[in-house]
């Protein structure tokens, strides 16, 4: 199993450009998440999905969009890039919530710089 994979690893965008960060997991997890990590800060949840076709906002959703058409893929879209979106983005997945919390598995991250 590859686990959670993210592409690209690095990207530089100009202000106003758009891009999609790709995330794929091969563990058949229902839950998927997008986080951003700013320097010296913890991870903040952008969006999450509890299954194909279902998404919801996290703590910092402004400026981003997501879709979940399959169990495996959860792309994150930036429509009009701004310098405030310079960050490291992590995708994660976990099994369906049951009586016991299931840990989240993280991808390696995408380092995005907006100039």
């Amino acid at each position: 199993n590859a686990g959670v994979t993210q592409t690209p690893k690095f990207r530089i965008l100009k202000i106003g450009q758009s891009m999609t960060l790709q995330c794929t997991q091969d563990m058949n997890h229902n839950y998927m998440y997008w986080y951003r990590q700013d320097p010296g800060m913890g991870l903040k949840l952008i969006y999450y999905s509890v299954g194909a076709g279902i998404t919801d906002k996290g703590e910092v959703p402004n400026g981003y969009n997501v879709s979940r058409s399959t169990t495996e893929d959860f792309p994150l879209r930036l429509e009009l890039a701004a310098p405030s979106q310079t960050s490291v983005y992590f995708c994660a997945s976990s099994e369906t919530q049951g009586a016991v919390y299931n840990e989240q598995f993280f991808g390696p991250g995408t380092r995005l710089t907006v100039l």
Binding site: G40, G42, L45, G58, Y101, Q104
Partner: protein, 115 residues
């Protein structure tokens, strides 16, 4: 508002000694607490967790202690090894309301273990 707080941005420990990393939380709806370890240019990886019905969980060199009345948890690493040098994130989640299926992260503590 930071619901999970790690007030020490860094900790330096000699190899073989004990490392103690601390974490405080404010939301009484949190039921599960996790520690993640992160190396540079990689995603966080799960280390150990504890349910709110326990006050201690041990896994090899790693032990997590939970003091619910103080809303405080700590991670003990004994003995510390140079390979433990990484950023450690405390995270919390729950099974009720806005905590369901979501992780709230602290800012992390950089642990350096020197020979």
């Amino acid at each position: 508002d930071q619901q999970v707080k790690q007030n020490s941005p860094s900790l330096s420990v000699q190899e073989g000694r004990i490392s103690i990393l601390n974490c405080d939380y404010t939301n009484s709806m949190f039921d599960y607490f996790l520690w993640y370890k992160k190396y540079p240019a990689e995603g966080p990886t799960f280390l150990i967790s504890i349910s709110s019905i326990k006050d201690k969980n041990e896994d090899g060199r790693f032990t997590v202690f939970l003091n619910k009345s103080a809303k405080h948890l700590s991670l003990h690493i004994v003995p510390s090894q140079p390979g433990d040098s990484a950023v450690y994130f405390c995270a919390a989640s729950g099974i009720r309301g806005s905590t369901l299926g979501r992780l709230y992260f602290g800012r992390g503590t950089q642990l350096t273990v020197w020979p």
